[in-house]
């Protein structure tokens, strides 16, 4: 996208910059609560096997679509499986997908981005390819990819990751490009530091802050995309409950059994909400000027 002529920070901006606290500091309770809620959800999901009353896969034809009761906390689904057990267990996989996607895409994007940012030769080609990838709507690409290697957990993660990588690459690249103009990098050149050394020791650290932020966003959107994939019939196998495919299975029961969408939906939304909030806070704290969240 277009680079803007960036105006030098004037005395005034420095002045205000000096005196105003980082935005995060004033968000107050928000992030704290978010962190707590998230921690709670994560913990609950991880520990799910310890406390859920039923095997999330155990079906009972005789007790299908039961209403919430002492026996089934949130009732049962069309297979007579305990919704509570499924939702709590589903959280693990959804979170796994989110975190997995985030880590993979950040890692891959970082490497490619550094190369693109520093080696002019590689830059052109890499960015063309990235542009192309970005031009393909993520969902369509993901569906195709899932169709490609079957709806296994790993392939879903890959399918979600690939469309995200270009955004990370762009981010890393732009950071590198601006950082390499910094006098301290030129000084390093003058001091005879080798390119790889400069790349790793001087430039890479600059990308970490934005990457952490980007990572949280990817994590959030990955969880969301997983749900949408399941909804479109290209999600994780129903044998592995995720918030996404629980909702997908429940879609046609929306009116007679809203719980099937509501509960996983609620947890999923809460979870993403918190992750996003924390992401914003992290962004404000780590790098107030990083505002671009590549669509």
């Amino acid at each position: 996208m277009t680079e803007m002529p960036s105006s030098r920070r004037s005395a005034f901006q420095v002045l205000t910059g000096v005196f105003s606290l980082p935005a995060g500091a004033r968000l107050g309770a928000g992030p704290t609560i978010a962190a707590l809620v998230l921690a709670l959800i994560v913990l609950a999901s991880i520990c799910a096997p310890l406390y859920v009353p039923y095997d999330p896969l155990a079906m009972d034809a005789m007790s299908r679509l039961r209403p919430p009761s002492d026996e089934f906390l949130l009732g049962t689904d069309p297979y007579g499986r305990d919704i509570f057990s499924r939702v709590m267990t589903g959280g693990r996989v959804s979170l796994l997908i989110g975190i997995g996607a985030a880590i993979v895409s950040v890692a891959v994007g970082l490497v490619i981005g550094l190369l693109a940012g520093f080696f002019r030769a590689a830059d052109g080609i890499i960015m063309r390819i990235m542009d192309s990838l970005m031009a393909i709507p993520a969902i369509l690409l993901a569906i195709a990819l899932v169709a490609l290697n079957g709806p296994s957990l790993s392939s879903v993660i890959i399918a979600i990751t690939i469309p995200e990588v270009p955004r990370v690459v762009r981010l890393v690249r732009s950071v590198v490009l601006s950082a390499r103009e910094e006098p301290y990098v030129e000084a390093a050149i003058a001091l005879g530091s080798s390119m790889p050394k400069i790349l790793i020791q001087h430039l890479m650290p600059n990308t970490l802050a934005p990457l952490i932020v980007q990572g949280t966003y990817i994590c959030a959107s990955a969880i969301l995309i997983e749900a949408i994939l399941s909804f479109l019939g290209a999600g994780v196998s129903t044998e592995i409950p995720t918030w996404g495919n629980i909702m997908a299975e429940g879609r046609s029961y929306f009116q007679i059994k809203p719980g099937l969408i509501f509960w996983p939906g609620l947890l999923l939304s809460l979870c993403i909400l918190c992750i996003n909030l924390l992401g914003d806070t992290a962004r404000d704290l780590l790098d107030p000027r990083m505002k671009k969240r590549e669509g």
Binding site: P183, Y184, A187, A188
Partner: protein
């Protein structure tokens, strides 16, 4: 040197500040940013507010405009009286009314201070639309008129130009027109010429003076440049750490300063008298630059210029222990030359020979080993050190690159800290824990650590306050004597050049217009451009450090162009 000596005690008082206290919002007991300052300005008076960065000059002006950044600063006491109107407790609406009509302001950065997406004409006219009910045509006429008053060329065209299409000087003229179009009683000028080249600066100063006479405006002029003060002030207030330490008529202050701080400040101001040149060494030159040429090709998405010749046919050499200064205004190509020599960019022509090796065409790899011969110190002390690295790591980076064992490098680093007199424990700290001056010392130490033959100082002191500037210049001098390093000193400030250079080379539009021993070039310049540069240097007749006029005033006397 003649100063303004008008007596304004009878003139009516425009601004009266009493016991003004400004502090961090919501933190009344924290160290205040302005501590109970008093200030008076009378109609037609030019009152200069001088002080080093962070002394509170800008805050004073913003407070007077009622423009303090709400969420950061607030008035915590005292009063600001503008012709009987109390500003500190005015409503937003009242303030809006006041601005531009009775108090106006011009700022340091004419580029960022003008809205880049609106035509400058509109921006001036907007003032009229806001405060008067002139018809469209009247407003335009008035705008054109004021634009002519500020001597803008080709007013009709400029009227509908965008800021980025104008030169820095023109933009500042627009700002002035905008400020004075409703001729306010008080004009606040916050470092209005700092971002401009000397020649432009001179014109702007003249303009402000002219406008002031025409409209009888009182001017509160904020600057850090004693030269400027000497040129324009009726009265001066010296600020330090949020307080006004001394306030006096200009001549009094310059000839007979009362307070130590004022003396210290004045002593630090370099004057245009060239330093006594050092003995020409017989050793053969460390650096030979031969017909150096740098042409920036076009290409790149938005670079309109196809092939800018940033440097043409630049030839010079420097012997060990001597200092060559390259002076010139922005865009003269002086920094390009420096970067070419450092091979931060690859020159498109000519030769650069360092320590008997021609490096202008060496491949990056082969260059590596020659890097240690030449080192550079950058302008911006805040960006020239990796903020994530300890000082020690920065200092050791170079030597380790050239195979010095870590321990040895560390010892060396420690010595260097002494050399640039910083405490040893500074080694384990991070750049942000140091002041600008200290960082620049560290940067110098880092360069010296390589035991280079040539040290390039690219505007190395331009970003520093005068007092700090003096210290750093001394340090450079000292380092040079100690290691016999040859130095290439890039600066736009003739005074600084005069202080440190043996030889001077004047560049204009990428070409060398004059070069020779500093004394010769500065004392009797042969080239018009050099002359205009010297003549434009404000307060050049005054030897601030010794509180007297310069007996051997440089360059020709007479009316300033």
């Amino acid at each position: 040197m003649k100063f303004k000596t008008r007596d304004l005690s009878t003139a009516q008082r425009v601004l009266k500040i009493r016991k003004l206290k400004v502090g961090l919002t919501g933190r009344p007991d924290a160290q205040p940013v302005l501590n109970e300052i008093d200030l008076d300005i009378r109609a037609g008076e030019t009152h200069c507010l001088v002080g080093e960065s962070g002394s509170g000059k800008s805050v004073t002006s913003l407070a007077t405009m009622g423009l303090l950044p709400k969420d950061a600063l607030e008035v915590q006491g005292g009063l600001i009286d503008l012709e009987g109107f109390e500003i500190t407790n005015a409503t937003a609406a009242q303030m809006r009314d006041l601005r531009a009509q009775r108090v106006a302001m011009i700022f340091q950065e004419p580029m960022t201070a003008l809205n880049p997406v609106l035509r400058v004409g509109e921006q001036i006219e907007e003032v009229l639309n806001m405060h008067t009910d002139l018809s469209k045509s009247e407003a335009k006429a008035r705008t054109i008129d004021i634009m002519e008053q500020v001597h803008l060329p080709d007013v009709q065209r400029v009227y509908s130009a965008f800021p980025h299409q104008l030169s820095g000087g023109q933009r500042q003229r627009i700002m002035i027109a905008m400020a004075l179009v409703l001729d306010p009683d008080l004009l606040i000028a916050d470092e209005p010429t700092t971002a401009l080249d000397v020649t432009t600066q001179l014109q702007i100063l003249k303009l402000i003076e002219e406008m002031q006479e025409r409209h009888g405006t009182a001017v509160l002029f904020i600057t850090h440049d004693m030269g400027v003060v000497a040129e324009i002030a009726d009265t001066v207030s010296v600020m330090q750490k949020g307080e006004i330490v001394e306030s006096a008529p200009i001549r009094e202050l310059l000839t007979n300063p009362q307070k130590d701080y004022t003396r210290k400040l004045l002593k630090a101001v370099p004057n245009l008298a060239p330093r006594p040149a050092r003995a020409v060494s017989e050793k053969d030159a460390v650096l030979n630059v031969d017909r150096l040429e740098m042409t920036y090709g076009g290409g790149g998405w938005f670079r309109k210029s196809e092939g800018v010749r940033a440097a043409r046919d630049v030839t010079f050499d420097i012997a060990p222990g001597r200092t060559l200064g390259i002076v010139g205004e922005s865009g003269s190509g002086k920094s390009t030359v420096a970067r070419c020599i450092m091979r931060l960019i690859d020159p498109t022509g000519g030769e650069v020979t360092v320590a008997a090796t021609e490096i202008s065409r060496l491949s990056r790899r082969n260059l590596q080993s020659h890097r240690k011969h030449l080192q550079i110190v950058f302008q911006d002390p805040y960006r020239s050190l990796n903020p994530r690295w300890t000082v020690a790591r920065s200092l050791c980076e170079g030597p380790i690159n050239f195979g010095t064992p870590k321990s040895e490098a560390m010892e060396r680093a420690a010595e260097l800290m002494e050399l640039v007199d910083l405490p040893k424990d500074a080694l384990d700290r991070y750049p942000h824990q140091f002041s600008g001056g200290q960082r620049q010392r560290i940067a110098i130490a880092r360069a010296v650590a390589m035991k280079p033959d040539l040290l390039v100082a690219d505007e190395a002191v331009s970003a520093l306050d005068v007092s700090v500037q003096a210290q750093v210049l001394d340090l450079l001098d000292d380092v040079q004597d100690r290691f016999g390093i040859a130095m290439l000193f890039i600066t736009h400030d003739l005074r600084v050049a005069a202080q440190i250079c043996d030889d001077v080379l004047v560049m204009q539009k990428g070409q060398v217009v004059e070069q020779g021993p500093a004394a010769a070039v500065l004392a009797n310049p042969r080239h018009d451009y050099t002359r205009s540069l010297i003549e434009a240097a404000p307060g050049r007749h005054w030897d601030f450090a010794n509180f007297r006029a310069l007996e051997r005033a440089p360059a020709v006397e007479g009316p300033i162009a």
